[in-house]
């Protein structure tokens, strides 16, 4: 008779009442070309892809809209309010995004500082309150502060998205303790957004028990974005698997793996 525990089985990620196929979400910015972006998304296995709301370029000197390259039946388009520095501005962008007609989700960013792109907590909370009242499903990009995370949840955010490190920095998970604490205290999904640089960062982040990761630059700025997307897919799965499996305790002393008995005289 076996005494092995049943292999840890995962449950699907559910955000705002919708089930998502992958715990890895990816952005669509900064790719060198659209074909690379499309192939990287494919390799990542991500269902959720983020997009930004911007003016149409009426002179057509720049790239066309992203919808010429993405299939909204295959990808779940999560619009962001990137670049917004006040609650009013973010609310305006969110309303425009919803009018595009895909869904009621918004990745809410209210930026408070140009150098670090760290969130403006006051503006974030205010915009969350207004948008939730308007029926938006708010996924709130925030810092790793527990109290802010709790307030976002209380205001009705469907997911809280603490940063691993500043947007586009690739510095990895700087505050595992704080992210773990947020995950432990919140009921809504916690999805780490921003700062992951390479596969080990994604793996360590998922090992904290968070529900998912959103990344963009780690793929777009890799030498080979498609290969990195594949690596990230594996890293997210590995990190999630290790979390579910439950790691061994850390010890400050060595414990031999081979028997101490049976050694020769």
């Amino acid at each position: 008779m076996t005494t092995a525990v049943a292999t840890a089985r995962d449950v699907p990620l559910v955000v705002g009442g919708r089930t998502f196929a992958s715990r890895l979400m990816v952005g669509t910015g900064k790719y060198r070309d659209n074909e690379t972006m499309v192939r990287a998304i494919e390799a990542s296995g991500a269902e959720v892809v983020t997009v930004a709301v911007r003016r149409v370029d009426l002179d057509r000197t720049k790239a066309e809209g992203i919808l010429h390259h993405l299939d909204p039946r295959k990808q779940f388009l999560l619009a962001n309010t990137a670049g917004c520095y006040t609650a009013e501005e973010a609310i305006r962008y969110a309303r425009l995004a919803r009018e595009a007609g895909f869904n009621d989700f918004i990745k809410l960013e209210v930026i408070g500082d140009q150098e670090t792109l760290l969130p403006d907590v006051q503006g974030l909370l205010e915009a969350t309150r207004v948008l939730v009242a308007e029926g938006f499903k708010v996924m709130a990009y925030t810092n790793e502060d527990l109290v802010t995370a709790l307030r976002l949840e209380a205001l009705g955010a469907v997911a809280v998205m603490p940063l691993a490190s500043p947007i586009g920095s690739g510095l990895g998970l700087l505050s595992p303790f704080h992210v773990r604490t947020i995950k432990r205290r919140l009921s809504v999904p916690v999805i780490v957004d921003a700062g992951v640089g390479t596969a080990s960062d994604a793996c360590v982040t998922m090992e904290q028990g968070v529900d998912g990761i959103l990344m963009n630059t780690a793929l777009a700025a890799a030498r080979d974005p498609v290969a990195m997307a594949h690596a990230m897919r594996l890293a997210v799965e590995a990190g999630r698997g290790a979390f579910l499996a439950g790691r061994m305790p850390r010890r400050e002393v060595a414990v031999p793996s081979s028997p101490a008995e049976g050694m020769l005289d």
Binding site: N80, A100, I167, T217
Partner: protein, 75 residues
């Protein structure tokens, strides 16, 4: 001497730049003039979003402000 002529266009502000569009144009007409697919663009008219089905019903007036936005790559 000044030449009197019938001007059948008006000037409005689209995405921050002044442009001439036909007088009495609807928002749907403006998108057509600009060769934009209304299914891929969201229209804000004088700071108010105009839903797609209403685009043929709203006419622009001189100095109106339009923002025409769409989704672009972002994180």
């Amino acid at each position: 001497m000044t030449v009197q002529r019938v001007d059948d266009t008006i000037e409005i502000i689209i995405n921050g730049a002044r442009r001439r569009v036909p007088r009495d144009a609807t928002l749907r007409d403006v998108l057509s003039v600009l060769d934009l697919d209304p299914r891929l663009v969201v229209v804000e008219h004088n700071r108010r979003i105009v839903r797609r089905p209403a685009l043929p019903d709203v006419r622009v007036a001189p100095d109106d402000t339009l923002e025409l936005v769409h989704f672009v790559g972002g994180g």
